[in-house]
């Protein structure tokens, strides 16, 4: 290579892209966390709908998970990005503004990632709830706990314990899915790498570094999840 050295490209020195990539990594984490949280909220309601909803509610929840697990995530991101822009522009026109208003890419991305991961979270939470022993709930009823107390003290903690491994998987999927949000122009990790690759003409270096950063984030968060799994299962007898 007659161009600058490999490490120069990603250094933090002036002219290096280290800072930009790091900022991108931070944005990636933010998108992933927001998407994951939105997905968890949807997943909670989805699981509730599937476990104790009436026939209509259950059918809606079933339809939601089937559809969202059967279509590409990229399509959902397009829907939110372009659909959101169209909706916002229509609202703007109603209030008398002229021309096109863009939908914020971050919001579109986080919503899209949240809604796709929500379908997976629904299944995770439903399975986890099913794994809670009936006896525990019966015992709570026998102790005279009200529905709310029962949910807060017994069902929620036990469900979360069973759900942790599945939630860890969903988190890893969400993290990788956040790379798709780069198509909306949000300055996350892959987008920054693209910009860097474009302006230096060294795409290989940038994508390798971006890949390495993704690998670091997923490894680190994976270790964290494993630790929390162990921590929250400390009351479980093993054998």
């Amino acid at each position: 290579m007659n161009q600058p050295d490999f490490l120069d490209v990603v250094s933090f020195a002036p002219g290096g892209w280290g800072g930009a990539l790091l900022a991108g990594a931070w944005m990636t984490i933010l998108i992933a966390i927001s998407g994951f949280l939105i997905g968890s909220i949807i997943g909670t309601f989805g699981a509730w709908a599937k476990v104790s909803g009436g026939r209509t509610i259950r059918a809606i929840a079933d339809g939601y998970t089937t559809v969202l697990r059967g279509i590409p995530d990229l399509l959902v991101i397009y829907l939110f990005y372009f659909g959101g822009s169209a909706a916002v522009t229509a609202i703007g026109r109603f209030f008398g503004s002229e021309g096109f208003i863009g939908f914020p890419g971050f919001l579109a991305g986080a919503l899209a990632v949240g809604i796709t991961s929500g379908a997976q979270q629904t299944e995770v939470f439903r399975g986890a709830f099913k794994a809670v022993h009936r006896g525990e709930i019966e015992a709570a009823v026998a102790c005279g706990m009200s529905r709310a107390v029962r949910f807060r003290r017994i069902i929620a903690p036990l469900t979360l314990r069973h759900a942790l491994p599945g939630m860890g998987n969903v988190w890893q999927v969400v993290l990788k899915e956040s790379a798709l949000v780069s198509i909306t122009g949000v300055a996350e990790l892959l987008r920054q790498a693209q910009v860097g690759a474009g302006s230096t003409g060294m795409p290989f270096n940038f994508y390798v570094v971006a890949g390495a950063i993704y690998l670091m984030i997923s490894t680190f968060s994976g270790a964290l999840l494993q630790w929390s799994e162990r921590y929250f299962s400390r009351g479980v007898r093993r054998n």
Partner: protein
Amino acid sequence: MDWTFTFETFISLVAAIPLTLQLAAASILLGAFLALGLALFRLSGVRILDWFARFYVFVFRGTPLLVQIFLIYYGLSQFPAVRHTILWPILREPYWCAVIALTLNTAAYASEIIRGGLLSVPHGQIEAARACGMPRLMVFRRIVLPLAIRQALPGYGNEMISMVKATSLASIITLMEVTGVAAKIISETYRAIEVFIVAGVIYLTINFLLTRLVHVVEYMLSPHLRAPRLQTPVQGESK
């Protein structure tokens, strides 16, 4: 909903289905061979091969598919050496780059599924085959592999569905498969919802048919798990 527009969209998206199916079929097929190789590496007991396969799976499962696609399509062309090899006519084409990236990616996930299948083969079966005097290769071909495939099939079905969804990323490197055409129509017309519904229906149909197909193959491969056909008119078809 504007039915003429929806219908026109449907016609243009249907024309793009063959490319989606081609990408999915090519990468699933090639990926299956690579995955089998990786799974055998993991189980070979040779430390270098084992570690290579572990590292491969770690890298390809820990980074987003889009990064892998960019690395192969944009990244490799950075090196003049690559541009002068006989591989360049292949690596220049977005189609082949997409197939290569999807193949390498699915191989990582599928190798773990196949490894699970291989490990699930009961030891007694292998012992029986050895006792019949079969050489190692024949044991693998006649006993281990068929049983492993049967075991791995449900997991492999899920992986196939995620591959069909993953082909949508090929649209980002200019391939006009279903999502590519959908994105083009959306960005020209800003009618995200209609296009999304049409594209979604197409993907859901493909994935539904794929699920059915996997079920049929699963049924065909498990005569030993079905109740024997009874002479009496009682139905013995269900498991």
